[in-house]
């Protein structure tokens, strides 16, 4: 960490200790190397609503929301009370609790095409399992995915380079987002051997603006999968429940065969789920699925509460409204200083970038300056809105962004 002031002293101390005993110091998506070393806090202390405090006491309006899960805001009282009630009865049992059945019923009623649900803890658990279900159902080998899409950390999809064999991806093939021709090429090349196509509802690669589906893209993919007997898997882990409570496919107007949820499903409690069509039920029952904590009831109770609140409060509309206010305001603020800004992705899961900034330097300086003023803007990863963000929070953020634009303009960036 090369911070020029004392804002991150405690973070620095902790990181120095971590570097002695933890590979990478902080690994994965939260690692400093993929953010802004020296301009981002490394360790967080506590959080409430749409705000959190780092270990040095710096306060931030949170536009990462724990990288997605905090859809209702941190420490939501009803969700936490539901989880605590359940935990008083049991944390980890030899058997599933009734809450697992209730949650499966609830999810199946929310997601129209689905007939069943299973649970795990992380997104990767579910995307990888879904591939197996697709292979079991079709008795085929190939999986098609979009180049640059993130589906987790297993060897078939990890964005990392290390520890892999060429053979790990022998049957994984990539096409380009919104590029029907490249999809059709793979379809032609591997016709009869394609088990599944796994995609996110919109394309949200790190280090790039998000891309919405072009008109006709999803209908084409969906029709091809139906025609060819390919299982269409929607990885809705990042956007799930933020665009439509019934799944992001409803927002975009198509229907998958399997849908994977995580993040917003339980407002920060560790839970993921896959839901599927009845035709895939037998295959799903055959593919072994388990984990040490996967039947733990408190997260499921949190999920029940979270889903109920989102439905009651129409959280999807709230996120769309505040997200639109934020992104419209940021684009206007940039324009005031002569910058052409690109607001990409849906307003509830937005990302902001400079139109002409191929090296990302301007983006990095801008996000560092906003973060310094008290709103965490990741320069390379899409952002998240929560129901706890109020119009006042958005207005305060826009004030910080205005100052940040002024700073980078004065620096000639």
């Amino acid at each position: 960490m090369n911070s020029t002031d004392n804002r991150f002293r405690r973070s620095q101390e902790l990181f120095a200790r971590a570097a002695q005993v933890i590979p990478g110091g902080i690994y994965g998506h939260a690692g400093p190397a993929v953010a802004l070393p020296g301009a981002f806090p490394y360790y967080a202390d506590r959080a409430q609503g749409c705000r959190y405090w780092d270990v040095d006491g710096n306060e931030y309006i949170d536009y990462l929301c724990g990288y997605g899960p905090m859809v209702l805001g941190h420490q939501h009282p009803e969700v936490e009370a539901a989880a605590a009630r359940q935990q008083r009865d049991a944390l980890c049992l030899n058997h599933p609790g009734p809450i697992m059945v209730e949650l499966a019923e609830r999810l199946v009623s929310l997601v129209e095409f689905s007939a069943w649900a299973v649970f795990a803890k992380n997104g990767s658990d579910m995307t990888t399992w879904s591939l197996q279900v697709a292979r079991e159902h079709t008795k085929r080998r190939k999986i098609l995915k979009v180049a640059g899409a993130y589906h987790g950390i297993d060897p078939w999809c990890t964005p990392g380079h290390a520890g892999l064999l060429d053979e790990d991806r022998t049957h994984i093939h990539e096409f380009n987002w919104n590029d029907i021709e490249s999809f059709e090429q793979l379809l032609k090349q591997f016709r009869g051997d394609i088990a599944g196509v796994i995609m996110t509802p919109f394309h949200h690669p790190a280090f790039h603006p998000s891309q919405m589906p072009s008109p006709g893209f999803w209908p084409h993919i969906e029709a091809a999968c139906r025609r060819e007997g390919i299982v269409l898997i929607l990885d809705d882990i990042r956007a799930g429940f933020r665009l439509d409570l019934g799944g992001s496919h409803k927002f975009f107007g198509f229907e998958p065969d399997l849908i994977c949820f995580c993040k917003a499903i339980a407002n920060g409690h560790a839970l993921s789920a896959t839901l599927g069509r009845k035709e895939l039920r037998v295959a799903a029952s055959k593919v072994f699925l388990t984990g040490s904590y996967w039947n733990s009831p408190p997260a499921m109770a949190a999920s029940m509460a979270c889903l109920e609140i989102m439905q009651k409060d129409d959280t999807v509309s709230t996120l769309r409204s505040t997200g639109t206010m934020l992104m419209d305001g940021l684009v206007a603020a940039g324009k005031k200083y002569g910058y052409a800004m690109l607001a990409s992705g849906p307003p509830a899961v937005p990302f902001l970038s400079f139109v002409d900034d191929p090296s990302l330097r301007r983006q990095q300086r801008f996000c560092a300056e906003v973060t310094r003023r008290g709103a965490i803007f990741h320069p390379h990863h899409n952002w998240f809105l929560s129901a706890a963000h109020t119009p006042q929070d958005i207005a305060a953020t826009l004030g910080m962004a205005d100052e940040a634009f002024a700073v980078i303009r004065s620096e000639g960036l």
């Binding site: 960490m1 090369n2 990181f15 120095a16 971590a18 570097a19 590979p23 990478g24 110091g25 902080i26 690994y27 690692g31 400093p32 190397a33 993929v34 070393p37 020296g38 490394y42 180049a147 640059g148 380079h161 892999l164 064999l165 060429d166 790990d168 991806r169 790190a206 280090f207 191929p358 090296s359 990302l360 330097r361 990095q364 390379h380």
Partner: protein, 263 residues
């Protein structure tokens, strides 16, 4: 996925266009090499039969590398195949080049041989080099140069590297040790690649800066946790991070090609 075997043509290109150019910096930075060089004034061409060639010119106490064969050199060393050249550079005693021209320049050949041995010792990190901080610094610096220049050879011929590069954003990356105004750079263009050692031809899209020679030494030898070093500010990555990350992966291919012999 770094398990694909080495391609002999790429290795020969690496020796000629990434390792051999290090002689320039070696003679600039290393007193031992400068003593070996003395007042040598000569040009030596190394050429593979029906293959690549490179020239090293020695004059004024310096070495200068040039791509291809210059006209009228003092000495021409011919290798019958890429494998022959690779065996020579990896120290196989039987792999003596054919002296196509200049065999009578015994002193030139003797001094070149000594310089080549010194370069090998520094790049491979022989114990006598690494026992001093100056030696470690030199090893790190030359390893960095060879790795950066090696990107070009890999980009031209190594299938794994080419596949990785196809998924990377275009741009110019520079790698430097802080305080040194020279950097090794690699330009990943849309149509072609370029690499060099010195001042980059334009502002890099990403700069990778090692804050001191020790951290560069550790990083080049794969002996430190580079992610922790980035988090701790000992390695700075400024700009187009995906390009730096991808080039780091491509550079790891060099270990398949240029792994020093067990000592």
């Amino acid at each position: 996925m770094t398990h694909a075997p080495a391609n002999p043509a790429v290795l020969a290109n690496l020796y000629l266009s990434a390792v051999l150019p290090c002689l320039a910096d070696l003679t600039d930075q290393d007193p031992v090499a400068r003593d070996m060089l003395g007042d040598l004034r000569a040009s030596i061409v190394l050429r593979v039969c029906n293959g690549p060639a490179a020239t090293v010119r020695f004059a004024g106490g310096k070495a200068v590398w040039e791509d291809g064969a210059v006209r009228a050199p003092s000495v021409i060393l011919l290798f019958l195949s890429n494998g022959h050249l690779n065996a020579f550079f990896s120290g196989k005693k039987w792999a003596v080049p054919v002296l196509l021209w200049g065999g009578w320049h015994i002193s030139i050949l003797a001094r070149f041989s000594k310089l080549a041995q010194r370069l090998e010792a520094v790049l491979d990190g022989h114990p006598e080099v690494l026992e001093t901080s100056a030696g470690r610094r030199l090893h790190a610096r030359l390893s960095l140069i060879a790795a950066g220049l090696g990107l070009h050879a890999l980009a031209q011929g190594d299938d794994t590297a080419r596949q990785a590069l196809r998924s990377l954003p275009h741009g110019l990356a520079s790698f430097a040790i802080e305080g040194d105004e020279r950097a090794v750079w690699f330009d990943h263009g849309s149509a072609d690649y370029a690499a060099g050692w010195g001042v980059p031809p334009r502002r890099p899209d990403v700069r990778i800066v090692f804050t001191d020679a020790d951290i560069a030494y550790g990083a080049m030898r794969d002996e430190i946790d580079t992610l922790a070093a980035v988090g701790g500010g000992r390695i700075r990555v400024e700009g187009l991070i995906p390009l730096a990350d991808g080039l780091n992966f491509v550079m790891e291919r060099l270990r398949i090609y240029l792994k020093p012999p067990a000592q």
